[in-house]
Symmetry: C2
Subunit: 132 residues, 2 copies
DNA sequence: AACATTATGTAATAATATAACATTTATAAG
DNA sequence: CTTATAAATGTTATATTATTACATAATGTT
């Protein structure tokens, strides 16, 4: 059962715009889109983004500096994320594959390091772009 | 057998400084360090970095916007990368684990997407930081 | 109510990265 | 060797991404 967080005003505004978007959004594009709602400064956006990432409502696509809503209801916090990214149309989707996540969550090597978090980004061509 | 590329002057300078570093380097820190060698502008650094990434001599740590030399002699191009990152001391090392790389290289899901590249970043505490 | 924590507002600035254009050097082809 | 082509360089300006610092307000806890 996922803990319910009460999002603050800015957090709600910014989560909604990301959640409704069909593509990852960048911070300044979010800023532009929420200026009519009274959010004027980058920091207001970044603070909300930080919090939303922390509580797992959104994820950052590191290779794109962009944010998408979590598409995985069981994903409580952003500590195990995997994405597929089309290098042609830039479509991004979150992969939820239990074998993959188990494999990665249990991964250990000889370094003696205990991993508590990972982020995986796969790149390729999506169906549509492949057939072009 | 890895193809030999003849690095250009700037590429050599910038590769050397990354290769000698014990930690990932950021573009502007590289710039600062090579100014005495005549490289004055960010673009000169970024162009060399782009090329070095392209040919697999270095990798970008996306979550840190920093670059490290490839530590894996068989890694010809940067299409299958995995790193372990200590969240305390920020030590980064490249993981070369054939099981992991086979697993990921062969990963396919129901999306119909064919992946030709991936990047994986694991986070945790390294041995030293764990025992503190 | 008092306290602590979290969120907000605002201005300034730092850090990261690219566009555009002119020129030079290296490589390949005839 | 010389012409053509591609790759790399130099330079200026600017775009994009992100944080510092400081003041205030709202919310949650005891």
């Amino acid at each position: 059962m996922q803990k319910q967080y009460n999002l603050s005003k800015n957090q709600k505004i910014i989560f909604d715009i990301i959640d409704k978007s069909s593509e990852p959004l960048k911070a300044y594009s979010i800023l532009f889109n929420v200026q009519k709602k009274g959010i004027k400064a980058p920091l207001q956006v970044y603070r909300a983004l930080d919090k939303l990432v922390e509580i797992g409502k959104i994820h950052k696509i590191e290779s794109r500096n962009a944010f998408i809503a979590c598409q995985n209801s069981s994903c409580q916090i952003s500590k195990a994320t995997a994405f597929s990214i089309c290098e042609s149309c830039e479509n991004v989707s979150e992969i939820s594959n239990s074998k993959l996540s188990k494999y990665l969550a249990n991964f250990a090597d000889e370094s003696g390091m205990k991993y508590n978090k990972y982020n995986l980004e796969f790149f390729g061509l999506c169906k549509k772009c492949k057939s072009k």
